[in-house]
């Protein structure tokens, strides 16, 4: 970016970059290194699987994540399509109503959510987490998808219409295949949010058999004391799916984060 680099400039940049990045690397390395200490890597990781309901927690989080991903993706595709391509009075107003959700911190709705979920008798029901979580994620994903689908050429939609396709067929056969990139962003983004969610499971899933992965640190500390290497082994394992997803879909992660922020 700043012209051709001399050897001195190269060394300067390398040193500077390393100094800046090390504070981010240390905590990550520490967690992994400590998880190998104590009784050793093998024993620590084995203990997490055999002595604790770790797999149960993972399964529960997978259920929450799957439910959230499906709900968010379906609602987003339908709404994003209508808000970008279909005619209806008050469309702008509807769009604003959806996007305004971005400004409201969901956690400020603790009281009404708690009271409503209790009234509906949905404690210890995954729906109590999936519903609110989807509502909080949707404003972002609808915004991204609507902006993306606006770029799908209208000619293609008109052609489908002339062929007698209903708007739903057009969405499924024409628009979604052309929007695969944004669909991937929506899926990855909602999975990330669901897997990492701590507050809603804390609030609504009190049954130990239903806890999410984010409850693992608290659960382990209270049940198994402070065997730090084993706790860190559990942390490493609970972050693994996210890190793997990140490495596999790096572009989609980053795009999801930047696109919504930079465009519009």
């Amino acid at each position: 970016m700043f012209g051709r680099a001399t050897i001195r400039a190269r060394i300067l940049y390398q040193v500077l970059a390393t100094v800046l990045v090390l504070p981010f690397a240390f905590p990550l390395l520490w967690v992994v290194l400590v998880s190998f200490q104590g009784q050793g890597a093998r024993a620590n990781y084995a203990a997490v699987f055999t002595q604790t309901p770790f797999l149960q927690f993972i399964t529960n989080s997978l259920i929450i994540s799957a439910g959230t991903v499906v709900t968010v993706t379906l609602c987003t595709l339908l709404a994003g399509f209508a808000l970008s391509k279909l005619e209806m009075p008050g469309k702008q107003l509807l769009f604003m109503a959806v996007v305004a959700g971005l400004m409201l911190p969901g956690i400020a709705l603790t009281v009404p959510m708690f009271l409503i979920i209790r009234e509906l008798g949905l404690f210890n029901n995954y729906v109590a987490v999936i519903g609110p979580l989807s509502a909080i994620i949707l404003p972002m994903t609808v915004l991204l998808t609507r902006n993306y689908m606006r770029n799908v050429p209208d000619e293609l939609l008109d052609a489908a219409k002339i062929d007698g396709a209903t708007s739903f067929t057009t969405l499924v056969r024409v628009v979604v295949p052309l929007s695969r990139a944004i669909v991937a962003v929506v899926i990855v983004w909602s999975f990330l949010n669901a897997w990492n969610e701590f507050f809603l499971p804390l609030l609504f899933l009190t049954d130990p058999g239903m806890q999410a992965v984010t409850q693992i640190p608290t659960y382990f500390t209270s049940t198994y004391g402070s065997d730090v290497p084993k706790i860190f082994a559990a942390l490493t394992l609970m972050c693994l799916p996210i890190v793997v997803t990140y490495v596999a879909f790096q572009r989609h992660f980053e795009r999801g984060l930047t696109a919504g922020a930079i465009k519009d």
Partner: protein, 306 residues
């Protein structure tokens, strides 16, 4: 005559069809809208009603107190402490994350070997669960934890602290955790924006003899204005809703030195059953989010017009 009827009928049919199409269009929006309106908007309305009650959340006949909870709130020192903590936390973390993110983006746009790895290391904390990050840092911050050991190793043992047990530094420790988790976000946005800064302008500046620092300050930074605004906006909302790291690392202590509005809401509404008071606190958070967003948008618009 038959022709006219046919035309009218056809027109009627097509009008009917377009009306039906419009109604169908609403059907597409309904699922998303039901969730957003049903949970977020109904929640806000319900919350504002609950905030006028003296209620434990169970009593079938709650007591109406009007603005009572708000009056109590204004006289509540814990509320003001929490507000001060969030404000301080927000200002410091937003500025540090923006500065550091921009700096890293600039440095990594230079000739750096292994750039991909550096990028990943800075960005990975953004996607990790705050719950996991909190558990790790809680351990690092212990008196016999990794942070103190590191300080000792580099000869800075004078700086050693009981990081989260000391009211003087506990908030600082939380800020550090937030900077660790969120700098990658600023970095990513700046990096994306930097790639759009015109190379020709940079060359022109360098030909004019402007040094790197000067080029960055007078050419690059102003062009990133949109990104600054975005980061400030998301940062404000982000600070207001910060909960996990506080709840899991300090629990708001010691001596309320790290109490946030969110942790206070949780304690009041869920743990103490002061549902009305918790709702009033929530209204403050909502009002702050809307107000600060509006102010920033206005500032940005004024700035762009001038």
């Amino acid at each position: 005559m038959t022709a006219t009827t046919a035309t009218t009928a056809a027109a009627g049919r097509s009008r009917l069809r377009s009306r039906r199409a419009r109604l169908t269009a609403y059907l597409y929006v309904i699922p998303a809208l039901m969730l957003i309106v049903g949970i977020i908007y109904v929640g806000v309305v319900y919350n504002s009603w609950v905030s006028t009650l003296d209620w434990n959340g169970l009593d079938p006949e709650p007591t109406q107190v009007g603005g009572g909870n708000y009056a109590r709130l204004l006289a509540d020192p814990i509320f003001w402490t929490a507000l001060r903590n969030v404000a301080l936390f927000g200002v410091v973390t937003i500025l540090v994350q923006m500065g550091l993110g921009l700096l890293i983006a600039l440095v990594l746009s230079g000739p750096v070997y292994g750039r991909g790895v550096y990028r990943a290391v800075v960005f990975v904390p953004v996607v990790l669960a705050p719950a996991a990050i909190s558990a790790a840092f809680r351990q690092f911050f212990r008196p016999d934890g990794q942070l103190n050991a590191l300080l000792d190793a580099v000869g800075l043992d004078a700086l050693q602290r009981a990081w989260v047990a000391d009211p003087q530094v506990a908030l600082l420790a939380l800020m550090a955790v937030n900077v660790f988790s969120w700098t990658g976000f600023s970095f990513l946005l700046y990096q994306a924006a930097l790639s759009q800064v015109e190379a020709s302008q940079l060359e022109a500046a360098q030909i004019d003899g402007a040094g790197t620092v000067r080029t960055v300050r007078s050419i690059v930074v102003p062009q990133l204005r949109m990104t600054h605004v975005t980061l400030a906006l998301t940062g404000v909302i982000g600070s207001l809703k910060t909960f996990d790291i506080v709840f899991l690392i300090t629990g708001g202590g010691p001596a309320r030195s790290t109490e946030f509005l969110t942790t206070y809401i949780y304690k009041e509404a869920i743990m103490q059953f002061n549902v009305g008071y918790g709702a009033a606190l929530s209204m403050i958070v909502l009002a702050l989010a809307l107000l600060l967003t509006a102010v920033q948008m206005r500032l940005y618009r004024l700035d762009r017009e001038s």
